[in-house]
């Protein structure tokens, strides 16, 4: 984290005074942004449908979230506050780079606080703190096509979507149960959006799938290499596929977070020393921090207002 080079203001947001000269606001040219916004509008109008778009070269290699970056660049405005997470953390190289990128090319404020952000770009997680209708969640997507493993022909997958021929999606679930006694897919677990399109939620843990359902925030998905944008509008039904006699379930842990004690967040197992000592901690680093702050502040508050 490069907080030292930035000024933290009272909101916990960081201001980026040094905007790079010679670049358009948020890097992309206006024509490209308009094209991407049109794709986004179409995606919002047809929840879960993959809209092709003319993906641009970005100053990052594919696989580093170029799809998400292009979506963010097309929707972000001067007054937005951006949060970037990678596997739940604000501090990984990828998250820091993307945050700096928008700091420098758009001069927008950035934050680590989920509830302060207006735009959140994410790779592989949905924040634990529930999102509001004033926020937009932008996912980085590596493989947008949920039918690809079954059918490699693009013409055929498009037809399957068009005709809602989705029965074969259950072949994958069947196969899992037949071999392991349960559905073992734990990331990128396929969902059906608004009772219509089958959609890949990007490689978030299935733990996060229920958060997508009727989420108040707009969810946008960008796949740079595959040149696809799709969306889940606010308050839209999102259902994880399952069998009647093998209903969808999420991960749970015996342990609580070793740092904040939370028992209802997604936990990562980390190794803390050379002896292989393990502990479980929240994957959402900001959530964990806030839980710890709440714990330390709680007695004070109780004394303060007596409630």
């Amino acid at each position: 984290m490069t907080a030292s080079s930035q000024n933290k203001n009272t909101n916990g947001s960081m201001e980026n005074p040094e905007i790079l000269e010679g670049y358009n606001f948020a890097y992309l040219d206006d024509q490209t942004k308009r094209m991407i916004r049109r794709a986004i509008l179409k995606a919002v109008a047809i929840p879960g449908y993959q809209v092709p778009f003319g993906s641009r070269e970005m100053p990052l290699p594919f696989g580093w979230g170029t799809g998400g970056i292009q979506v963010t660049a097309s929707i972000i405005g001067q007054d937005d506050i951006l949060k970037v997470i990678d596997q739940g953390s604000d501090d990984t190289t990828n998250a820091v780079n993307i945050r700096n990128f928008f700091g420098k090319t758009a001069g927008v404020d950035t934050t680590e606080k989920t509830n302060k952000a207006t735009v959140i770009q994410t790779r592989h997680r949905i924040p634990e703190t529930p999102l509001s209708k004033d926020q937009i969640l932008v996912y980085q997507v590596p493989i947008p096509e949920p039918l690809r493993w079954l059918e490699h022909r693009e013409t055929e997958t498009r037809k399957m979507h068009a005709l809602a021929e989705y029965g074969v999606m259950h072949v994958g679930l069947y196969e899992n149960i037949a071999h392991y006694g349960r559905v073992t897919t734990s990331y990128d677990y396929p969902v059906q959006v608004d009772d219509r399109y089958i959609m890949s939620p990007s490689p978030i843990p299935k733990f996060d799938n229920p958060k997508m359902d009727k989420m108040p925030a707009l969810q946008l998905f960008g796949a740079g290499r595959e040149k696809r944008i799709y969306a889940v509008p606010p308050f839209t039904k999102v259902k994880s596929l399952d069998f009647d006699d093998h209903p969808f379930t999420i991960e749970s842990w015996e342990e609580s977070c070793a740092l904040c004690g939370s028992s209802n967040s997604f936990l990562d197992e980390v190794i803390t020393d050379d002896e292989g000592t393990r502990m479980f901690v929240c994957s959402d680093s900001n959530f964990c921090k806030e839980q710890i702050e709440k714990l330390t502040n709680a007695p004070l508050l109780q004394n303060g207002d007596g409630s």
Partner: protein
């Protein structure tokens, strides 16, 4: 057999298809009735596969029509239906057994998943039911239940064809298309597979169009026989009649084994 009171299950009229200047098949006419097995023989390149594709919804003809007796609306031209309707027919009322099992199976999922796929495709969402129907069908095609969770790669040619048959028949289709289902198999494997097909088809009363080079196969399986040459039908009739008393000179050569088929 007198079936004239009944509507045909499939009605093919003046059917032609050309690949550029090349004739695929030309001016084909026939009807198939419920439970009837129609054999199609002819030398390589005579248009058998082309005809099978045309009548099974896989290839849109240049001319003529293919009508199927749909459950609700009776005879309907399959190429005038909407695509979703036609595809629904293909995975419910029809079955297609391909010459190359790799074209008809998912090689990356287990035998059970291959057999159960059609059930899932038509909306079955109960794992236990799908599983028990699939294993019933594995037994009906005389395969070991142990094979249920094995991948098709580990199966022999004859077993792959059994798997294709089970996968197709599980939705109780009324019409099944088979393109050379036994070619490439050992003679003894062929014979057992043919017995199985014959047994299932007659027990379930499924109508069938079978393409083969092999007159022996036809004698065993088909009620009626159609002989093709250069894209045209040169003779058709009851199988025994055609084979025992061929009228067309080309059929006479075929039957007398002077021509290799």
């Amino acid at each position: 057999m007198t079936m004239s009171l009944q509507n045909p299950l499939l009605k093919v009229e003046n059917l032609s298809h050309y690949y550029g200047d090349q004739i695929g098949c030309e001016n084909i006419n026939f009807d198939i009735y419920n439970g009837e097995v129609l054999g199609v023989v002819g030398e390589s390149g005579s248009g058998k596969t082309t005809l099978l594709k045309l009548i099974s919804g896989l290839l849109c003809p240049n001319a003529g029509s293919v009508a199927f007796d749909t459950r609700i609306e009776g005879l309907r031209d399959i190429y005038k239906m909407s695509e979703p309707e036609r595809r629904l027919l293909m995975r419910t009322d029809w079955g297609i057994v391909y010459q190359n099992p790799k074209d008809g199976l998912r090689m990356n999922v287990s035998a059970g998943a291959n057999i159960g796929e059609r059930l899932m495709a038509i909306g079955n969402r109960n794992y236990a039911n799908i599983r028990s129907d699939s294993s019933d069908w594995l037994e009906k095609v005389e395969m070991d239940l142990e094979r249920m969770d094995h991948f098709p790669e580990t199966f022999s040619g004859g077993m792959l064809q059994r798997l294709q048959i089970a996968r197709n028949l599980i939705t109780k289709p009324r019409l099944v298309f088979m393109d050379e289902p036994t070619s490439g198999l050992d003679v003894s494997v062929q014979a057992r597979l043919l017995d199985l097909v014959r047994g299932l088809v007659s027990k379930l009363g499924i109508a069938c169009v079978i393409v083969s080079h092999d007159l022996g196969v036809m004698r065993l399986l088909s009620h009626r026989l159609m002989v093709m040459k250069s894209g045209k039908v040169v003779e058709q009739g009851l199988t025994d009649q055609v084979l025992d008393d061929p009228q067309d000179p080309y059929t006479q050569l075929l039957v007398s084994s002077i021509l290799p088929v």
